[in-house]
Amino acid sequence: MTAIAPGVAEPALAAPAPRTDGVWRTMVRSKSGLAGLVLVVLITGMSYLAPLFVDDHNPVDAQNRWQGPSGEHWLGTDHSGKDVLKQVVLGGQTIIYVGFLAAVITLGVAVVLGSLAAYYRGRLDSALLQLTDIVMTVPAVVLLAVVGAFFGLTTPTTLALLLGLITWPVLMRSIRAQVLSLKEREFVEAARLQDLGNMRIIFVEIVPNMAGYILINFIIAVTNAMYALVGLYVLGLAPLAGANWGIMIHQAWTYGAIYLPEGRAFILAPVCAIALFQLGLVMLTRSLEEIFNPRLSKG
């Protein structure tokens, strides 16, 4: 929502024959994929494990506001004299949680509705298509403002729910397109001929065939949700409770950290944290793409 996003990756209709063997090998073989994996694991690990080791008390120190990086404060202090590094280390949990949960919701809704619509066609399909048209047309800002005002958006879970519920239509459409083509595949017809049951056909025979596509879009959805969350803070639609990267960026922004050489760490650190996490995910996506789309694999 904060950038012109061409949206979801193109449906890659090549049957994603998963190469059960060598997933790990492919992953490790590609240097960038491995780097991505390491980044993601490191940052997630830091965000979730650090609170176990780091004292989360980060006292205000009104005398030491906007200190540049020093031995005591590696990344300096913020507008209230709090240690920036500590905030970065401790501030990833919510963002990552919201990103993942929102992505799960987006994907869940998109996959279920998309495959049902494509499989059953008819009225259900056109109704759902109409719905996506509408949800996509209503500008997210307005939707967020209204829903935000009503649901209070106080917990990460409600935030994730909201983000998820807003972002599903684009993905739903491409899942639908994929299922439309998959359901014409002969193996689906074969399953129908054997009366295997529609639900089983959809969710056991068809959907797993999009696993690669779904996984990749899941990752895209995670990164989108993370920045949408930051956008929510900046728009003032999500209450600024607690401390996380999004709130840090918002504070750095409102307190004008960018103007102060000593304050730049405060704004750059969370931006970098998110950017690195995202970069990690993107690089990971590339190897995943290779795993799921053998046509792309190169030497």
Partner: protein, 574 residues
């Protein structure tokens, strides 16, 4: 690597670069309306705020330190001995920018248009007259301390443009119609839709509609205007925008003076590129509001006093505004600067200054029935003390104060979670009473009289006025029982403080209100906000008033010292 030629470039003869948000057409328009400075112009008039005094001049502006008027369009003013009338004498030979003569008739026009707009000034006006071209007489219904301000600070508008409306208003006033009569309402509606083609100015500057863009507004010289000869600048350029939009322009030295609420970080950055920071008092600031209806744990005044002892108000101020956030000392309900003017030394001594004292606070809480359990406090009803503090996330200083208070209290053992919201949704929530703790404003920056401060502290977000928003605000009952003053009606006391013209009587009521406020602490003022206005000297503007200048006591949003300096010819091009 800033090249000199660039700086030279900016020096171009006699330009003053200010910054203030304005409304660009088509939203912004040229219907100035009849309001006094800061009061009731038609919504979305091109330019609110102090700079508009350069175009539509008021009769006079106030010098806060000297406590006297500096006369502009007016030559003098006085109350009759029995305070039944107030007379303004206009200068002779004043001209509008369209060449017409500026007379007391225009004052009539102004005041009648104010009537159309339902201005509070008419609350105490009975009748207005212009016996001759230079004289304007107001007959008062009831004497009010503030009527002279309403009248003198009104931006005078021209009869050529607004005369028709004024005449129709006059007819209604004379036929005894009230402002809520259907005719008046219709007239008001019509007036609000009125869109003059341009501005007819009385001051040394006017607006060329061609020179308005979303980015900046250029005020050009009005040679006909009063003081046009004294003002040394040819042009005033105002950059549009709020704090984050304007900050880069300041940083790049494109702005000579800005009144925005900059953050300490920005302020520091400005200083490093050569700005001086002026710190005029604003006579107001953020306070901790408590929802008395909802949070019973604080219904005991000792609990509130304990809070005041816990919170390091200086820290909150420093975090929020750096050097411009000064801890409130007297806790009298109005600005520390003004306390000596209104309270005797003895009464000042009676004020509890609520020094930072955790032991005292614990003591008070224990007396109030709180219990400490481990690191955290329990309220008298045995629950762990946990509260949410709301604040508008878009006001950097308030949200910093809110965060800081939350942390200080949490460190003390009262767990407080911050919750930032956009002001637009936050403010109505407060008025509806949907909060536990909140940061909101105390004090008054427009008017020097403490009546306005108390009104802000006790009425605006409390039962008397919050009613308009459909709630009880902080729900503090104004009929109080105090140790110092016994039982009394605070609402009446505050209103009385602003009524009448007997200064001694006013002081008595102000003192009463101050002492009761100090004891009961319905709200806990945190710090007083001083301006942190960056000024750039030597580039386009030679000098701004020194910090020691008495004019620096003027509230920048009420009677702006820089605007007055430009008008007076004391602020000059470099």
């Amino acid at each position: 690597s800033k090249a000199d030629p660039k700086d030279d470039d900016k020096k171009s003869s006699g330009e003053f670069h200010g910054a203030y948000p304005f409304n660009k057409p088509p939203d912004g328009h040229f219907n100035r309306g009849g309001g006094p400075n800061g009061l009731a112009p038609v919504a979305m008039y091109l330019l609110d705020g102090p700079y508009s005094d350069l175009i539509h001049m008021p009769g006079a502006l106030w010098e806060w330190e000297a406590k006297k008027w500096v006369y502009y369009l007016a030559e003098s003013s006085e109350f009759s001995a029995d305070f039944s009338t107030f007379t303004v004498k206009l200068r002779a030979g004043l001209k509008w920018s369209d060449g017409k003569e500026l007379t007391s008739q225009d004052y009539l026009t102004t005041m009648y248009v104010q009537w159309i707009q339902n201005s509070p000034s008419w609350a105490s006006i009975d009748k207005i007259e212009a016996p001759d071209k230079q004289t304007f007489v107001v007959t008062l219904k009831s004497p009010a301390a503030i009527i002279d301000r309403y009248i003198l600070k009104s931006a005078v508008i021209d009869t050529g443009t607004y005369g028709d409306f004024a005449n129709r208003a006059k007819a209604l006033v004379e036929s005894g119609k009230a402002t809520d009569s259907p005719e008046a309402v219709a007239l008001n509606k019509e007036f609000n839709a009125f869109r003059p083609k341009g501005i007819v100015a009385s001051g040394p500057f006017t607006v060329d509609p061609k020179l308005i863009t979303a980015a900046k507004l250029t005020l050009v010289k009005n040679e006909n205007g009063y003081r046009a000869g004294d003002v040394k600048f040819d042009k005033i350029i105002l950059f549009n925008g709020e704090t984050p939009d304007v900050a880069p322009l300041v940083e790049s030295k494109d702005v000579d003076y800005a009144t925005h609420g900059f953050t300490p970080a920005q302020e520091k950055a400005f200083e490093s590129v050569g700005y001086r920071i002026m710190r005029p008092p604003t006579y107001s600031g953020p306070a901790l509001f408590i929802n008395h209806d909802k949070v019973k744990a604080f219904s005991d005044k000792r609990a509130r006093q304990a809070l005041a002892h816990v919170i390091k108000r200086g820290d909150a101020g420093a975090v929020a505004l750096g050097d411009s956030g000064k801890a409130v000392d007297f806790m009298a309900g109005f600005s520390d600067v003004q306390v000596p003017d209104w309270l005797s030394a003895e009464d000042q001594g009676k004020l509890n200054k609520y020094e930072n004292d955790l032991a005292k606070a614990e003591d008070l809480l224990t007396q109030a029935g709180w219990k400490k359990k481990g690191d955290s406090w329990q309220t008298p009803d045995g629950k762990t003390a946990e509260f949410v503090i709301s604040y508008p996330s878009d006001f950097a200083d308030w949200s910093a104060a809110g965060d800081n208070v939350a942390e200080q209290l949490s460190d003390f053992g009262i767990k407080v979670t911050p919750k930032g919201q956009k002001f637009e949704s936050y403010n109505p929530e407060v008025d509806k009473g949907n909060f536990e703790l909140a940061i909101h404003a105390w004090g008054a920056s427009q008017h020097p009289h403490p009546h306005f401060s108390f009104s802000a502290d006790l009425f605006v977000h409390n039962i008397p006025i919050a009613r308009n928003a459909g709630g009880r605000g902080m729900g503090f009952e104004l009929k109080v029982d105090s140790d110092t003053m016994g039982k009394l009606d605070l609402e009446a006391v505050v209103n009385d403080a602003g009524r009448g013209l007997d200064e001694a009587e006013q002081k008595k009521n102000v003192t009463k209100a101050a002492l009761v406020f100090n004891e009961l602490l319905p709200i806990i003022p945190l710090f007083e906000r001083y301006g942190n206005n960056p000024v750039l000297e030597g580039t386009r503007v030679a000098k701004f008033p020194a910090d020691s200048d008495p004019m620096m006591k003027n509230a920048p949003y009420g009677d702006n010292a820089v605007v007055m300096g430009i008008l007076g010819g004391t602020i000059t091009p470099a």
